[in-house]
């Protein structure tokens, strides 16, 4: 026994990546184990009930899971864990959701006590209708998502055999002239289509939009695309026109300014969640056409009302796209049960190794507060503390120094606080893009940045998502939304698009030492560190002293 896998008693699996069998092992355990951490030597996977049930849904049985564990394990696998795997997987499929010719959607069971048990749950009672026979109960069609989610929480996941509606057909093809879907993008599209609905996780810059386009070309049906903001909507449109047979006229934009409904409609989360007089007037969009596919961009940001509505959309195919499935509100499992399980996932480093995203050097610059700042920080109100240390004057000097060092390259300075950004913009003589900047102005500045007319751009968090800045090679983060891990990942994503000359990207995070800024930074970096993007830490003093500790 000298396998690459170590099975821990807490149901995590440790995979030694340098082992010769590591690849085979990874393939064997991927169907049922979630990749949790992927640092340089040992990857951590976790076996969860959800993962095991997804494996069952994908046609794997307990024996395959046990075999995979036993075959690759370095040490004997605890018997209790194997028993637990078998028992957990046996819970799947006792309940099935299906279409009954006369009663519509029904929940049937092969194990009557289970049905009795769940029907006694107060959470299930409002979702079901009449008992048709001892083993069957009717389900309100609109509660299909809700009942699946609730059953999952009760530990009796239902197998959904009710299928999908095809939606209104619409011809969409990929226009692969001069480019082609990358292998992992193809796998992602296949994984999604085979599974019916689900989430595809790819690093920023790895071409998630193309996975969306690929899925649309598979579905060949009217599509609703939900994105985070208007700029992003325009870019989706641009990209779809460029990469598919769709024309401008076939693609509608549904946002604060335009309300077009076309065979392919791109809507923003913001407009959908606008509330007037206690109702969401724009949620009707979901019913305005017979959509064959709904794409959720940046699914980790999916707002709560859309969640609720998604639960009612269970009969339509759903594709979620994201770079990080960590949600700061801990509702990852809701994404899984409402959109669907994770259908494709690749470690960032692996895609980097294939050359599809740029290698990045992450550096945390530790800034010392001056004595007077330290005193002021110590006496600051609790809620003001982060703002205070995140916007310290020393950070400005360090940022200037970094911009100076990388002069001539395309640099993004990203921050949270407008005052700080304005000040930085002034000192760096660079334009600032913030929430109040009109869309036209934004696009103008982005174009200028793209063409190299301007080389430094200061942006607030409006630019966190889905803006396409192909040649940004340096990002300097001066402040952020507290300890948000996914924001950190998104920001790193800004510089990961492959560079024309293949050189390395740099991501700087300027952090005030011995303050909560440092604690937040540690939390923010954790996701990336677990993806293998470890930060080097340098002292600002050395940087300012003109030494070059970065290289």
């Amino acid at each position: 026994m000298n396998g690459p896998l170590i099975v821990q008693s807490d149901k995590t699996l440790l995979l030694e990546v340098d082992h010769e069998q590591a690849d085979a092992c990874r393939r064997a355990i991927a169907p049922f184990a979630e990749l949790e951490r992927a640092p340089e030597h040992i990857h951590t996977y976790r076996v969860t009930p959800l993962g095991l049930w997804n494996a069952r849904a994908a046609g794997h049985d307990a024996e395959q899971v046990v075999d995979a564990l036993v075959e690759y394990s370095r040490y004997p696998v605890p018997h209790a864990l194997l028993v637990d795997v078998a028992e957990t997987m046996a819970r799947y499929g006792r309940l099935t959701l299906s279409k009954h010719p006369t009663h519509g959607l029904v929940l049937t069971t092969t194990d009557r006590p289970v049905l009795e048990e769940i029907l006694r749950s107060r959470k299930i009672q409002p979702l079901v209708g009449n008992r048709i026979d001892p083993d069957t109960v009717a389900v309100h069609p609109s509660e299909r998502g809700q009942i699946k989610q609730t059953l999952l929480k009760l530990g009796w996941p239902a197998e959904d055999l009710a299928g999908y509606v095809d939606g209104e057909a619409h011809r969409i093809d990929l226009d692969e002239s001069g480019w082609a879907l990358r292998p992992y993008q193809k796998q992602a599209v296949e994984g999604f289509w085979h599974g019916g609905s689900g989430v595809v996780v790819l690093p920023c810059g790895a071409g998630k939009t193309l996975v969306g386009a690929g899925a649309m070309a598979q579905a060949k049906a009217t599509t609703l695309i939900l994105v985070t903001n208007t700029v992003s909507a325009r870019q989706w449109k641009h990209e779809l026109v460029r990469r598919t047979t769709l024309t401008e006229d076939e693609i509608g934009e549904y946002s604060g300014t335009k309300k077009e409904i076309r065979p392919v409609t791109i809507a923003t989360y913001q407009v959908l969640t606008t509330k007037r007089k206690g109702i969401y007037p724009h949620l009707e969009l979901f019913d305005s056409r017979d959509w064959g596919l709904v794409v959720y961009d940046e699914v980790h940001l999916l707002p709560a009302p859309v969640f609720k509505f998604t639960a009612d959309l269970q009969a339509r195919r759903r594709l979620g796209l994201t770079a990080t499935l960590v949600r700061e509100d801990g509702r990852e499992s809701d994404v899984f049960s409402l959109i669907g399980p994770k259908r494709f996932d690749a470690p960032w480093k692996e895609i980097e190794a294939q050359g599809y995203i740029a290698p990045a050097d992450c550096v945390e610059v530790r800034v010392n507060l001056s004595d007077s700042e330290r005193l002021a920080y110590a006496t600051a109100e609790q809620e003001e503390k982060y703002r205070f240390c995140a916007t310290t004057a020393t950070k400005r000097r360090v940022t200037e120094q970094l911009v100076h060092k990388h002069a001539g390259q395309q640099i993004l300075v990203i921050g949270q606080y407008i005052d700080q950004l304005d000040e930085l913009g002034e000192h760096l003589e660079a334009p600032v893009i913030k929430g109040e900047t009109p869309n036209a102005q934004r696009e103008k500045l982005f174009d200028a940045f793209r063409s190299g007319e301007i080389s430094v751009l200061v942006v607030s968090k409006v630019a966190n998502f889905s803006i396409d800045l192909p040649e940004a090679t340096i990002a300097i983060q001066v402040s952020g939304t507290f300890g948000s891990r996914q924001e950190e990942a998104q920001r790193l994503g800004r510089v990961l698009r492959p560079k024309a000359d293949g050189h390395k990207a740099h991501f700087y995070s300027v952090v005030a030492r011995d303050t909560i800024d440092q604690d937040f930074a540690a939390h923010r970096q954790r996701f990336l560190a677990e993806q293998g993007y470890a930060y080097r830490i340098v002292d600002a003093d050395e940087l300012l002293a003109g030494e070059d500790p970065v290289h």
Partner: protein, 827 residues
């Protein structure tokens, strides 16, 4: 059994005397209770072997077939020839398996001195016969009733003759020959068959109901025709006014001669439930063995600086058990198992202090130093021989008290024997086969049928212990995936699988077997590693068990995040600070990581250590009783240099500040004595001015006046008092007879009589229904006098109508100090 040429032995003593030494030794080995104390002679040995307690004990240790044989002998004639026994066991159709097994079973009974006499005159020891033979109150396990002779005892001769007549037999002169005639009819298969052929079919149905016992049936005063038909022919005989019994001879005829419905001459086989590759079994068991070691270590490490308190009644509080279970990340039942295991192995004990707590023993430290396989050997042997049964933890004893882990009530003498037997049976299967628990339990039941079902628990203790043994063996790594491992087998070697089951092997052999098991296990356990893998996300992964010093240092420097085959450690600022607190310098930590990491130390980790070290010890804290402050640091230098200041424990903290161990008062005195003129400072830094202080108590209320005498009683209290006085009055003033040869007690004093007198008087009073005057001391020790009229005296209690309390009460006899009869005119 040697046949005495001068005829068969007449008594058990004679039979024993005729045995050779080896046979006697075999008897004593099988029934060791006969040896304490050592009997003086064979007569005494025979007497003791015939005592009820000893016979019961011996019967309980018989397997099912030997017991069935004994039961058959109990319903046979006494003495019985071998042929009769054989017929009873095999029936008319002569079951070959039973016939083949019978001599062996008989031999067992003879060896145990339960049966004696030659094959022509087999005798079951009288006590055993009494225990096993049917009586009206206790049906025989065979389901057979009394013989015709026994059942007709006391029947009128006329009635007997009537039966003979109806049964078609000639009348006889006397009852004895009548019974003999009836018996010979019932035992004659041919005539009996002819008789039953004439029986109405519903009469046969009645017989069918009774044939396999219980043989008694209730009848009305006017029985139904089929019962009457049977009764008229003696096929049913009256047992009492309302019951009839099926005579043994009739039942045997209906059973085709068999005493047992299903003789079980062959032990039920233990069947494999699953078969695995022996390598898989061994490696799984070894993995579990290793887990067991780490679990016990974790447990005791948790209690390193003193464990939880011992309950007053002994054992561990439920709360502490829960906490331990949470710390081990397991269930309470399993936590109890690990605790008991450590306790049985002597690694854990109470500290014997006044405030008693649990703590690891010195043996634990020695144990820790052993190689892993040896450590396992210690645990395994302790488990195998222990009588502690952790499975009972949490259940309740007969008095409804919950049994606590490590408590005094957990020893069950049967545990070690059953545990050994279960493993032994598992060892009887081929290597790699896991026994099916049900068949295993069936086999255990066959081996000790009488030691089963103990009151109401549903499952008897032996079966429960056996079930626990299977799961505990798995936890301990004696078995892997249910099958006995090579090292588990080695623990048991040396005894035949079908040994008589006494697990008390001598120490030497056990040590040998332990050594063999350890040797088998050692190569299967993972080798301790001397390196870890450091990763940039501030984790370290030990891909296997670590060498102890490495593991200990790492456990201080980083937090354990996940355990199992490997260990994942996470470095945090807090964990690094812990290492610095433990006296390590930052450079030590760097060296430690470089030495033990197989991968380069990631920059963030080095930075983390330096960053924490930079701030570590930045603030210093100590205790001082007083300080000296002076703007002129030369004066402070002077004071420090002065020899007279040494007793004040002065230390310079800063140029202008000294800290002192002496309290402010002593410091002032000391410095004044040295010729300085110090002034005391208040906590706010003001100079304190000495002047006389007025001393005050905390706020107090003025005392309330104390009136003379008690408060005036209220109406209720008065009523109750009067009633009590009246009752006492009656008890004290009734005239009573002086007790025999004793001056009656003075009024107001309790009567005193000896217990024999008390009993006699009370019994007499119960018979005559007369009232008595008694002195009584209740459970709280309060003495009272009462007038009672005894109703019943039994079991040390008197039930009586109490005139004083005006109700029926029960008094324990031993609490009655004495009795006196009431004078006649008082009642």
């Amino acid at each position: 059994m040697p046949e005495g040429s001068g005829g068969s032995p007449r008594t058990l003593a004679e039979a024993l005397r005729a045995r050779d030494d080896e046979e006697l030794a075999a008897l004593l080995r099988a029934r060791p209770d006969l040896l304490s104390p050592v009997p003086n002679d064979v007569t005494q040995l025979a007497t003791r072997a015939g005592t009820r307690a000893s016979v019961v004990r011996a019967l309980e240790r018989l397997d099912r077939f030997a017991l069935q044989t004994a039961e058959a002998l109990a319903v046979a004639t006494d003495p019985a020839p071998y042929g009769e026994l054989l017929a009873l066991m095999t029936g008319d159709d002569r079951d070959a398996t039973t016939e083949a097994a019978l001599p062996q079973a008989l031999e067992t009974l003879r060896r145990q001195a339960l049966v004696w006499g030659g094959d022509d005159r087999l005798r079951l020891v009288r006590t055993a016969r009494e225990l096993l033979a049917p009586s009206p109150t206790r049906p025989s396990p065979t389901g057979l009733g009394p013989t015709v002779t026994e059942a007709t005892a006391g029947m009128s001769p006329g009635r007997l003759q009537e039966i003979l007549a109806v049964a078609g037999l000639p009348t006889t002169h006397d009852p004895v020959s009548a019974v003999a005639a009836l018996t010979s009819l019932f035992t004659d298969r041919t005539r009996m068959a002819a008789l039953l052929d004439t029986a109405p079919s519903d009469a046969l149905a009645v017989l069918d109901r009774l044939v396999w016992g219980p043989p008694y049936g209730e009848v009305t005063a006017d029985p139904t025709p089929p019962v009457r038909w049977l009764r008229d022919r003696g096929l049913l005989l009256p047992a009492s006014a309302r019951t009839v019994v099926l005579p043994r001879e009739v039942a045997l005829h209906l059973r085709a001669g068999r005493a047992h419905r299903t003789p079980e001459p062959v032990p039920p086989a233990v069947v494999p439930a699953a078969e695995h590759r022996p390598q898989i079994v061994d490696s799984t068991a070894a993995g579990q063995a290793f887990t067991a070691l780490t679990t016990v270590e974790d447990l005791l490490k948790d209690w390193h600086e003193g464990g939880p308190a011992v309950l007053r009644a002994g054992g561990l509080a439920v709360r502490d058990l829960k906490r331990t279970a949470a710390a081990l990340d397991t269930s309470e039942q399993l936590a109890a198992f690990w605790l008991e295991l450590a306790y049985s192995a002597g690694l854990l004990a109470t500290d014997g202090e006044a405030d008693e707590r649990y703590a690891p023993t010195p043996a634990y430290d020695e144990w820790l130093e052993l190689p892993p396989a040896e450590r396992w050997g210690e645990l395994a042997v302790a488990w195998l021989t222990a009588t502690r049964t952790p499975g009972l933890v949490g259940s309740q004893d007969a008095k409804g008290r919950t049994l606590s882990a490590l408590g005094p009530e957990l020893d069950r003498s049967v545990a070690a024997e059953v545990r050994h037997r279960v493993l032994k049976l598992a060892a009887g299967l081929p290597h790699g086969a896991a026994p099916d628990p049900e068949t295993l339990l069936a086999r255990l039941r066959w081996e000790r049928p009488l030691r089963g079902d103990t009151a109401g628990t549903g499952k008897d203790l032996r079966a429960r212990v056996a079930t626990w043994t299977l799961s505990e063996a798995e936890l301990l790594g004696v078995t892997g995936r249910g099958a006995l491992s090579t090292h588990g087998r080695a623990l048991l070697d040396g005894e035949p699988v079908d040994g008589d089951g006494d697990a008390h092997a001598d120490g030497d052999a056990l040590a040998d077997r332990r050594a063999r098991a350890v040797k088998a296990l050692a190569p299967l356990l993972p080798e301790p590693l001397d390196h870890v893998l450091l990763q940039a996300d501030l984790t370290a992964v030990a891909p296997g068990p670590l060498e102890r010093p490495l593991a200990e240092t790492l456990a201080v420097l980083a937090d354990v995040e996940s355990k199992g085959g490997a260990t994942v450690y996470r470095f945090t600022p807090a964990s690094v600070r812990r290492a610095l607190d433990a006296g390590k310098a930052a450079s030590d930590l760097h060296t430690f990581l470089v030495t033990h990491s197989r991968t380069p130390v990631p920059q963030p980790l080095s930075y983390l250590i330096d960053d924490v070290a930079r701030r570590h010890g930045h603030l210093r804290i100590g205790a001082a009783s007083a300080y000296v402050r002076c703007d002129d640091d030369a004066v402070l230098g002077e004071i420090l240099a002065d020899k007279r200041s040494h007793g004040l424990g002065l230390r310079r903290l800063a140029p202008t500040v000294l800290a002192a161990q002496a309290d402010p008062g002593a410091l002032l005195e000391g410095l004044r004595a040295m010729g300085y003129a110090p002034a005391a400072e208040s906590a706010e830094g003001d100079v304190l001015i000495t002047r006389a202080h007025a001393r005050r108590t905390p706020p107090r209320t003025a005392p309330s006046p104390v009136p003379e005498g008690p408060p005036v009683p209220d109406r209720t209290l008065l009523g109750a008092a009067v009633k009590a006085i009246r009752a006492g009055d009656m008890a004290a003033t009734v005239a009573r007879k002086p007790a025999a040869e004793q001056v009656g007690p003075r009024p107001g004093e309790l009567p005193r009589t000896t217990s024999a007198e008390t009993l006699a008087t009370v019994q007499a009073a119960a018979l005559t229904g007369s009232a008595l005057w008694i002195g009584y001391v209740n459970a709280e020790g309060t003495a009272s006098q009462r007038v009672i009229a005894p109703v019943r005296v039994e079991g040390g209690f008197v039930t009586a109508y109490d005139h004083t309390a005006d109700e029926v009460r029960t008094y324990p006899l031993h609490r009655i100090t004495g009795v006196a009869e009431l004078a006649d005119d008082a009642t």
